[in-house]
Amino acid sequence: MASNHSHPEADIAWFIVGDKLALVTTKGTDSSSVHSKSGDWKGIDEAVTNGILIHYYAEPNALSTTANTRLTAYPDLDNSMHASLIEYVKAKLYIDKAGTSNDPNVASTAMNMSMVHEKKWQDSMVKFGSRRRDKIGGTRVVKTFDLR
């Protein structure tokens, strides 16, 4: 069922506090009460099924460690970033190795290797993470020029 707001962009707004989304409206009556006065912000005034559409940055889905399909599953990331996951895993494994080795030379080398892989991971995520998933980068021509 549609709402009774013909111009929601003019009298509805949203904001976030912590883990809560607030949806407020200025729609009201000519009453002077703060509970219903038109122009004052107050909670959204009507029930609308699927009335809000939220666009958000989400966390990728976690992989199962027990499902039968766990080894054939694809990580929930753009495929261009799949190889970067190897860098992260190796960085952590080298830290483990450095922490458990009794040989200071092995530990030192492992720490260096960990930093190399950590840097590759950071580079791929921080520098290129958003760019790689950008499907509209670069020059595009959707209609040929009219040269007449």
């Binding site: 976030i16 009507e46 559409l53 666009h55 958000y56 929930d76 799949h82």
Partner: protein, 109 residues
């Protein structure tokens, strides 16, 4: 002649591919531990806005607050960047974000 078809990236790595590459260097690493590490990486990747999703929710009359908590929900929201509201024609219209949220009336319901 091949023509000018769109070249698509088809190279994807399965969990097995990732594990096999890691085991070139760490052959003793357990499968469960490696998958847990991949999950840690996915969690960290989520901080860099790698995945965009959409969700709908139902409004309640005179209710100001709606829960975005990850707990007990099907959706894991890191950051909301746009909210639309259904208008009288049934279309979703972008509504503005209120920057100054120190409003006069604050319902906690």
């Amino acid at each position: 002649m091949g023509g000018y078809g769109i070249i698509m990236a088809v190279r994807r790595l399965t969990v097995k591919n990732i594990i096999s590459r890691v085991r070139q260097t760490f052959p003793q690493a357990s499968e469960t531990y490696l998958i847990n590490l991949i999950n840690d990486a996915l969690l960290e990747a989520g901080m860099y806005r790698t995945k965009i999703e959409y969700a709908k929710t139902t409004t309640v009359a005179d209710q100001m607050w709606y829960d975005l908590s990850d707990v007990g929900s099907d959706i894991d929201i890191n950051k909301v960047f746009r909210v639309d509201f259904m208008d009288s024609a049934g279309d979703y219209i972008k509504v503005p974000r209120l920057i100054d949220n120190e409003i006069l009336k604050m319902d906690v319901t």
